[in-house]
């Protein structure tokens, strides 16, 4: 009897359940009317909802990223830690390191003697930021800089760390930051690529840079970074052969485009369309690039400000000057790499040399943008892929030391483009080992840069292999404290 009662109850419940279910489904169906894009698949190159315009009014229109490849020592440049000088030669307390992993280069060391910096520090500007004597020109523009002392990353070796900074993931194959911007905002000047790359090399211990760092990844190949080289032809293979003039080239490209379009009709492969676009861009670059790379009309004060090296192709100074010219001509993202910061040994000498290469020109770039009224709309970023340890790698002497890789804290500065000028953000402990205030992760850095450019990092997506990808993966918080 009891069983029957229960069954009867269940019967009613089943009927109820079904009627409720229909109600639920009905209401969901009603609700879906309010979500216009719910069932829209990925059509065209841009994700649904993306227009190639900023999501909201941007602060910065362009970025110049002065990447200090090899990781400069924050402890000898920005992050002043008098305690290290006091404890010079004493062991790093375990309570500070807390068992953090080290690279294979120092993990076998018996001791981790703290190494104070050899260079003197002073405070500058309204923010009273500490800057090392190695960077006198940077110190002079400190009121324009937002110095972030609390950057941290997950990678501990160059390649993954560099790839992480450039693409938001430690393994290769994801699109680079510049490619994401090119995809999200399009190109400003149709005669130049939206994403350009410039390389230079200091005398310090160098680390390689590879074209995977400026790859378009799974994005359309028009978004790939274009490398400008230091030789007579800044863009390789751009010049016409002696036997071909501009008209011949035009005719050839028109015929080629016809053939390519036929292939596109047949196979519908987007890469064919990209190819045609790239030929056309290259054709227009043939006139635009010589105009941009011509330094002969630069006023003398510019040469003095960047230093006479600015006229020696392939130097960091020359690349900074070229970066300004490209940016001024509407290139969204100019990526510089200066190699030679990997001072595992002989740091005082190597780092001094590197600073001589970059200090004057980096500061000049900021000042130059400022005096043209372009700093407000151009974001300049200076920094490496991680920091360097507070303890010495190899032999510690009175006037020489080396520092290993340190991902837990390092310093990056930004200027212009909607960041607060004249501030120091975040802080590290007195050993310069851990962050004690306002940590900024690489994902946060990316989210913030995208925000400054008017892009919501959660909405800048691309569907690939069945899921949507973002530069910030599934993380990233905008660092509100540095927004102007």
């Amino acid at each position: 009897m009891e069983k029957e009662i229960i069954e009867a109850g269940l019967n009613i419940n089943r009927r109820r359940f079904l009627s409720r279910l229909s109600l639920g489904v009905g209401s969901v169906a009603l609700g879906s009317l309010l979500l216009p894009d719910l069932f829209k698949g990925a059509g065209g190159e841009l994700e649904s909802g993306m227009t190639g315009l900023p999501h909201f009014a941007p602060k910065a229109k362009r970025v110049i990223y002065l990447f200090q490849n090899g990781a400069p020592s924050q402890l000898d440049l920005f992050d002043y830690k008098p305690l290290l000088n006091k404890m010079h030669g004493e062991d790093l307390p375990d309570s500070v390191r807390k068992g953090q992993r080290l690279t294979g280069m120092t993990s076998q060391q018996e001791r981790f003697p703290l190494a104070g910096t050899l260079f003197s520090f002073e405070q500058y500007g309204e923010s009273r930021a500490w800057i090392s004597e190695l960077l006198p020109h940077t110190a002079a523009i400190v009121d324009d800089l937002c110095i972030i002392k609390s950057m941290h990353t997950e990678a501990i070796n160059h390649d993954p760390a560099l790839t992480f900074f450039q693409t938001g993931a430690q393994v290769g194959n994801r699109p680079s930051m510049g490619a994401w911007l090119s995809y999200g905002l399009g190109t400003e000047n149709k005669n130049l690529p939206a994403f350009c790359v410039l390389l230079s090399k200091g005398k310090g211990n160098g680390q390689g840079v590879y074209s995977k760092l400026w790859t378009n990844g799974f994005l359309d190949s028009v978004h790939q970074g274009v490398q400008f080289s230091s030789g007579e032809n800044p863009v390789l293979y751009l010049k016409n052969h002696e036997s071909i003039d501009l008209n011949d080239r035009r005719k050839m490209l028109d015929k080629l485009a016809e053939l390519n379009n036929m292939a596109y009709q047949e196979f519908n492969d987007r890469e064919i369309a990209s190819k045609v676009q790239q030929y056309e861009l290259a054709y227009r670059m043939q006139t635009a690039v010589p105009e941009v790379t011509d330094l002969s009309k630069e006023p003398e004060s510019i040469i003095k400000m960047y230093g006479p090296d600015a006229l020696v192709p392939g130097t960091y100074a020359a690349n900074c000057l070229l970066a300004r010219k490209l940016s001024e001509n509407g290139v969204r993202f100019v990526q510089l790499y200066h190699q030679g910061w990997d001072s595992h040994g002989n740091l005082p000498k190597e780092t001094s040399g590197q600073c001589l290469d970059v200090d004057k020109a980096s500061a000049a770039l900021v000042t130059d943008l400022k005096q043209r009224g372009l700093l407000d709309e151009t974001l300049v970023i200076w920094g490496g892929e991680f920091g360097r340890t507070n303890y010495c790698q190899g032999e510690l002497t009175k006037d020489n030391y080396g520092r290993d890789h340190h991902p837990r804290c390092f310093t990056v500065w930004m200027a212009g483009g909607g960041v607060k000028p004249g501030i120091v953000y975040g802080d590290t402990d007195e050993f310069g080992y851990n962050i004690v205030k306002d940590p900024v992760h690489v994902h946060d850095f990316h989210a913030t840069v995208l925000h400054l450019l008017g892009l919501n990092h959660e909405q800048l997506t691309f569907r690939h292999l069945g899921r949507r990808y973002r530069l910030t993966d599934v993380e990233g918080e905008i660092v509100k404290g540095i927004l102007a």
Binding site: L34, N191, K304
Partner: protein
């Protein structure tokens, strides 16, 4: 019966609510639904009343008798509460979709509302089970009261502002944001609140640490046991600011470790106030607009939006699109923004027509970048027809300034860039007719620094950017560039030197002596070199320090063997093009890996066999090699044999070179020996690398390397 229907509706509404919450980011509310959404504040009071009434009954009237009689009424109360709350929550969700609501401020209210809606549905559904357990019943009732109060309070804060409810009884604070900008006093309303918040707890009448009391201005001026608090003339502004800036770990750091620290903005305010003379009475409105304090104050006191709001009628997307071409970009500032920015590229392609064509969007253009375009003064009259311009970039255009007067109608113009133009100060009288102007860029114009100073006095609201002027800076020139690829010459060749900086004088010598600025000849383009020379050259220019020396050797090739054979092969890493490398008339350059060097080390010695096929005669044999004084050194010895019969070669001589010294020249080195006076068909030369690197080198004791790029016979 009505209860079943009503509950089904509640269920459907809650399903809809849950669904929309999950997909909220894609939600787009049509206009007619917005009306429904805006009824949220109207409806929300009903469920609050119903729910509170019901919860109070369940909490405070537990008598079974009354309860049982009232069960129908109670159910009706609960159900109507559930129905109205689900409607209210949906309306609220639609309302949040309208602009003007910050996602962070409404998050708590939104989730609270949704939670109440779901809770009530569940409560009604399981009401009988719950009523049977009095403790659970009361808990749920109490929970719902708490949730409703909390959510309601959050909602109130959104509508009426933070602390609306308790505002009247809370201690009054001079909230700077509410203070009229004109009345704010720097000391009272900017500096003192910081001190009250962060310093006074230890520095008051009752607890005066360091004998310092900071409750009033007078007491602060007295200072403490360590003297005065501030010194407006000192570099570090006195002990207070100095201590604030000490590292947190430092014993003298203030506020001490563990106490609330000053924020960057607070530090900036205190510093700027002291630097400005620690004036106790000056008002914010009396400050110079470009003063740091004024800027900080503007951020604190301004209630108006700092962002530009563009109240413009948007041009059609098709019109905007049609105006784009390869040399002109016309783009909205952002999605859904009516404001447009226009940029021009390609100086060669520019014509004033490109400006005229923008007429259809003349109302919408707010930013225009014409930098580097051949704009003339008369074209500025066209630009004046874009009345809403905020930002105008005319850097490095061809304007001379006469046309600037035409811009006077541009009342919104905020930024004007004139860097690199011919604009003279007399034409800047237009500034008084540009009421909105905030910044002007005058770098690299005829306007002098004194004139800019004077302009700053007249236009206090405008920031004048004069930029970098390197007149007084004296720098060192880079060395001249020796623009040659071939350094082994087969015929007289014009000397090619150049320098990247215009107006540089290049002087040179060909005899190995150091060039100087008086005696050495000045380079010009019709100098030819014929004989082997050692070129040294320096760059000079007035106002610059002369450059370092650039040097290079030129060789004259004469005799060339018909065939060359290497008897010992070079190191595989430095094998160049083997035999051909030695007589290709090309030097190796600075990079040993260039493929133009042959490298030998250890027992391996350069041993080369030359065959001239018929008796030849020459005067000298030159070996060009490389030294870096680290690993690469000139050879230890060179031996030459000659003869007309390959089996009976005569030894000419062995040249023993002296052990390299630390001060020896590095780079390309030439070693020359005489050839025999009599004719010869064959020549054999052997050059041994040094067997031990000298003691003074860091690589001491190891075998040295010998690198050769060319053999020259004369």
């Amino acid at each position: 019966m009505w209860k079943t229907i009503a509950f089904n509706i509640v269920f459907a509404l809650n399903c809809l609510l849950a669904f929309l919450l999950v997909f909220e980011s894609g939600l787009s509310v049509p206009v007619w639904l917005q009306v429904f959404g805006r009824m949220h504040p109207l409806l929300l009071h009903i469920p609050i009343g119903l729910l509170l009434l019901y919860a109070v009954i369940e909490l405070f009237f537990p008598l079974r008798k009354i309860q049982d009689q009232a069960v129908d009424l109670k159910d009706a109360l609960l159900l109507s509460g559930a129905l109205t709350i689900s409607l209210t929550a949906l309306m609220g969700l639609f309302l949040t979709n309208e602009p003007g609501y910050e996602p962070e401020t409404i998050a708590l209210h939104k989730w609270g509302g949704a939670a109440i809606s779901f809770l009530l549905m569940a409560w009604y559904h399981w009401r009988e089970h719950i009523r049977r357990r009095p403790l659970l019943n009361k808990t749920v009732a109490a929970l719902s009261i708490a949730l409703v109060s909390f959510t309601g309070h959050q909602g109130g804060s959104i509508t009426h502002g933070e602390n609306f409810l308790l505002g009247p009884i809370l201690p009054k604070e001079d909230d700077p944001a509410n203070l009229p900008f004109d009345e704010a006093v720097v000391f009272t309303h900017m500096a003192m609140p910081i001190i009250k918040q962060k310093c006074i707890s230890c520095h008051n009448e009752k607890k005066a640490k360091g004998e310092l009391i900071m409750t009033t201005a007078e007491q602060m001026l007295q200072g403490g046991k360590n003297g005065k608090l501030w010194d407006t003339t000192a570099q570090d502004l006195g002990s207070m600011i100095k201590r604030i800036h000490l590292p947190l770990s430092h014993d003298d750091h203030m506020p001490p470790k563990g106490k609330p620290q000053l924020t960057d903005q607070e530090i900036a305010i205190l510093e700027a106030w002291i630097r400005g003379g620690s004036n106790m009475t000056i008002k914010v409105s009396e400050l110079d607009k470009s003063d740091t304090l004024a800027i900080l104050a503007a951020a604190m006191f301004s209630n108006d939006q700092r962002e530009d709001v563009y109240d413009l009628e948007a041009a059609s997307a098709a019109t905007v699109e049609s105006l784009n071409n390869f040399y002109r970009a016309v783009k909205p500032l952002a999605e859904n923004s009516p404001a447009l920015s226009v940029s021009f590229f390609g100086r060669e392609q520019f014509t004033p027509d490109q400006l005229l064509e923008l007429k259809p969007v003349s109302q919408q253009v707010v930013e225009m970048d014409l930098s580097r375009m051949p704009i003339k003064d008369e074209d500025l009259a066209i630009i004046a027809q874009f009345p809403h311009l905020r930002k105008l970039n005319l850097n490095f255009t061809d304007i001379g300034g006469e046309g600037l007067a035409a811009l006077k109608g541009l009342s919104y113009l905020k930024e004007l860039s004139l860097a690199g133009t011919g604009a003279q100060v007399s034409f800047l009288s237009v500034l008084k007719d540009l009421p909105g102007l905030k910044k002007i860029f005058l770098w690299n114009t005829p306007v002098s620094n004194e004139e800019i100073k004077a302009l700053r006095q007249i236009h206090k609201n405008i920031v004048f950017e004069s930029g970098f002027d390197g007149d007084t800076l004296v720098l060192k020139l880079t060395p001249p560039i020796i623009d040659h690829e071939q350094f082994v010459l087969s015929e007289p060749t014009p000397l090619k030197l150049k320098h990247n900086i215009n107006g540089v004088e290049i002087r040179y010598t060909l005899d190995g002596t150091e060039p100087d600025s008086i005696r050495s000849p000045v380079f010009h383009s019709d100098i030819a070199i014929d004989n082997p020379v050692e070129l040294k050259t320096k760059a000079y220019r007035k106002g610059w320090i002369s450059s370092d020396i650039a040097s290079s050797r030129f060789y004259r090739s004469g005799l060339k063997p018909q065939s060359v054979k290497l008897l010992v092969q070079p190191d595989p890493y430095y094998a160049g093009s083997r035999e051909r490398t030695l007589f290709d008339l090309e030097l190796g350059g600075r990079s040993l890996g260039s493929g133009k060097w042959l490298g030998y080390s250890g027992m391996q010695a350069l041993d080369v066999w030359l065959d001239f096929e018929s008796p030849a005669q020459g005067s000298s044999f030159t070996l060009s090699c490389f030294s870096d004084n680290r690993r690469a050194f000139p050879p230890e010895s060179i031996t030459i044999w000659y003869g007309n019969d390959s089996l009976q070669m005569k030894k000419l001589q062995t040249l023993q070179l002296k052990t390299p010294a630390k001060s020896d020249q590095t780079g390309s080195i030439a070693i020359t020996m005489d050839l025999p006076k009599e004719p010869f068909r064959y020549l054999r030369a052997q050059a041994r690398p040094i067997s031990r690197i000298p003691e003074w080198s860091s690589a001491k004791g190891k075998p040295g390397w010998l690198y050769i790029d060319e053999i020259i016979l004369k």
